[in-house]
Structure formats: C-alpha cells, structure tokens
C-alpha cells in the first residue's frame, strides 16, 4: 500500500470558498503572536532563561516563607476534604481513580492522568449525555481541565463503548463555590441554530460576545459569562427572561485576546 496514494484521498475535500475573506478579516485585526521559526526559537530561549531564573528565585522565596511560617498541622486540601483534582491511572488492568468526588475550580474540573501503558490510549469522558476525548502522553502524567458541569461523569482510558460506558469509574463533581453557570439553551420547540455572525475579537470576552450577539438582542436581554468563569474556551450566554437563548464560544488567541469561535442560539432569534 503506497501511502502517498492513500493520502490523495484528501484531495476530494474542499476548502470553504470564503477562506480568503477570512484572511482579510483577520489581517485587519490586532496582530497575533506567531513568530517566524528562527525568531521564535531565539525568543523562546530568552524566555526559558528568564523563566528558569524567576523559578529558582520564587522557589527559594517559597522555601524561606515555608520555613518561617510552617504550620503545626497540614491544612485541609479543599472544602469538605473533597480533592481539587481527580487522579487517574491507566494500566494494563484498566482505569483506576483515586477518589470518587472532585471539587470544581474556576476554570473547570481538573484531571491528572498517570499513563503507565507506554502508548496513548486516549482518555474518554462522558457527562450529561455527551462525550469527549483527549490525548494522553504515551508515558507519564497528563493534566487536563474539562468544562463539565457539576454532577456525575464516567471516565476511561481508551474508548467508552456501549458496555464500558456503564462500568467505567464514576466520579461526582461538586461545586460548593457555585462557579458553574448553566449553558444549556432553552428554546421554543428545542429548535436551535448556528448563527453566522462573522468574526469579532478583543481583550474582553464579554465585550466580544456582546458585539456578536447585538443583532439578536432585545432590550432587557442580559449577556454574561457562563460555564466556568475562567474556562478556556470561554462561554458567554444571552438570557431573555428566565431562558438562555444564545451562547458564544470564545477562544483565546496567541496574543491573549479573545475571538468568537461559534455562536448558537434559538432558531426563533433568526429573522423569518
């Protein structure tokens, strides 16, 4: 089997016709941060040295502070002793979790995966009737932050199929700080749609989302950050009365600004 022939199968995929317009729209935005490789390497080297020096100094300061103010007993790790991260391990016998409860953080739910397999089996997570998958380092520890709502989720190294989805370890997410704000749309007849709104970007995700949602807003509608307040990507929702009627997903760009990535909402917001 000649792989170059196999890859020719890709030629049948077509780039969207509006790609050049996207280029021009973006070129008019504030500059992003991808450097030419040589410049990038030089800057990366300088950054590494600066970070290393700062790290050593910080570590020394921390050690001194710890020695000076060492507590007589270790404080509780989190509210109610619920851990702040789920520690999992993947080995030949399956998936093992060290606790069945975890506390949500401002940016989501933290997973620490110890992979002992020597290959990347992938990590599958299923929550709220949905599923997602993640890459793992082939050997060693991978840290992930997942924007799953409070409640139970199943997790497994590899794929969650119809059988393992009922037997994989179950973990409960608690949110005593009430970080999570629901993002589920509540639309008449459950009719939702993706809105083609063009691209917006800026320093404040709420401002960017408001710009994008403006054509669909009525007076009295509110726009607020939802999901986890420090999550990436960030979610902003639009609320009309008591119902969530639209939401914007925003991704952080390399220069630290936020760009609208997707807008979904109730089909009833679109002009007839």
């Amino acid at each position: 089997m000649k792989l170059s022939n196999v890859f020719r199968g890709l030629d049948r995929y077509q780039a969207p016709p509006e790609l050049w317009r996207m280029v021009e729209d973006r070129a008019a935005m504030p500059e992003g941060g991808f450097d030419e490789p040589t410049t990038r390497l030089r800057r990366a080297r300088s950054r590494i040295i600066a970070v290393a020096v700062a790290g050593v100094l910080s570590a020394l300061s921390l050690v001194l502070v710890f020695i000076a103010f060492r507590p007589s007993s270790a404080p509780a790790p989190a509210i109610g002793d619920v851990p702040l991260e789920v520690v999992l391990s993947c080995d030949g016998s399956g998936t093992h979790v060290e606790a069945t409860e975890v506390q949500a953080q401002r940016d989501g739910v933290h997973l620490v995966v110890r992979n002992l397999l020597g290959t990347d089996p992938g990590l599958s997570v299923r929550f709220d009737g949905r599923g997602s998958g993640y890459n793992l380092a082939p050997q060693g520890v991978t840290r992930l932050t997942v924007s799953m709502p409070p409640g139970e989720f199943r997790v497994a190294c590899g794929v969650l199929d119809s059988e393992t989805v009922t037997t994989a370890p179950l973990v409960n997410v608690v949110d005593p700080e009430r970080f999570y704000i629901p993002v589920s749309l509540e639309c008449p007849g459950d009719a939702t749609a993706s809105f083609g709104t063009g691209i917006a970007a800026g320093a404040d995700p709420l401002d960017v989302a408001t710009t994008v949602l403006e054509p669909f807003m009525d007076s009295g509608d509110t726009v607020e950050v939802a999901g986890y307040p420090a999550a990436e990507p960030r979610i902003v929702r639009m609320v009309r009365g008591e119902s969530v009627v639209a939401m914007v997903t925003l991704v952080r760009q390399v220069d630290g600004t936020w760009r609208s990535d997707a807008v979904t909402g109730c089909a009833s917001l679109l002009p007839a």
């Binding site: 890859f7 280029v23 992938g122």
Partner: protein, 159 residues
C-alpha cells in the same frame, strides 16, 4: 483576489494563497480533524503574513509552519483533541472518511509527520521545524505512524 498589502515585490500573498491554500487546508484538516480549526489556522497563518509584509522571507514555508502551529495550539487551547466518539467524520467518500478516522487514532506528532511527508511532500528535516521537533524524532514518528496507519487501513480498524 487582490492582496491588501503591496510589500512583496515578486508575487502577492494572494497569489501564494491561491496556489498553496487548498492543499494546506486539507493537510490541516487531516491533522486537526476539524474543518473550523483548519479554516481558522490557514486564515490566521495568511493573515499574519499580510500583517508582517516583507518581514516574512519564505511565505510558502512560513504558512505551513504557522498553520500547523496554530492548529496545534487551537486544539490544545480547547483542551481537546479529535473527539474519540460521537463525532462524525464528514467527507465526500468512504476512502476519505476512513483515512481521517485512521489518522485521528495516531498521536498528533505521528499524524502531523505523516501528513507533511506523504501529502505535502516534505522531508523529515523539513518537517522538524514545522512541528517544532527534531529530525530524528520525526523519523521515529514517521516509522511508527506508517506502521499503525497501514495496519488500521488494512484491517479496517479505523472507525
């Protein structure tokens, strides 16, 4: 299609875009497994060239590296890779879908190396700076990725 800057003496960015973008977009699609990520990455890469004008010496090489880096960053920022389930791989035919499905089961480094080698025609030493890796590591990724991909395509394990 006119470039919005005029700083490149011999050919406009728009001309390079016309020549390079279809293949680059497909390569990033195969790498990221997501049309939106592919479009964002390619558009952003060319937008950066337009912003920087003549500071970018080799536009072709630059946009390949930039688009792959942006796609990798985008996937990382979203804290996800290609979803392992409940994700339909769309495509114009069964072969294309099978190839994308098989590729998504490789590691990003293996996937990127194979696409750049067998679809874009780059050598291992050219692939290394694009993926931010070394030539030796790329050779290893190519060997392992080839073996896994062939196995999946021959046994139909790609799903």
């Amino acid at each position: 299609m006119e470039s919005i800057i005029g700083t490149r003496p011999h050919e406009s960015v728009a001309e390079v875009f016309k020549e390079v973008s279809p293949r680059l977009w497909r390569a990033v699609l195969a790498y990221a497994g997501d049309r939106d990520v592919a479009s964002d990455a390619v558009a952003e890469a060319f937008a950066q060239v337009l912003r920087r004008g003549s500071a970018v010496r080799d536009v072709r090489r630059w946009v390949w590296a930039a688009a792959f880096r942006i796609a990798a960053g985008e996937l990382k920022a979203r804290s996800r890779m290609v979803p392992l389930m409940e994700s339909a791989v769309e495509g114009p035919d069964v072969d294309g879908i099978l190839l994308l499905s098989a590729l998504r089961q490789l590691s990003p480094a293996q996937r990127g190396s194979l696409i750049l080698r067998y679809y874009a025609g780059y050598s291992a030493s050219e692939i290394a700076p694009i993926l931010g890796s070394t030539t030796g590591a790329v050779r290893v990724h190519l060997a392992r990725g080839r073996r896994k991909l062939r196995h999946m395509l021959q046994t139909g394990e790609a799903r």
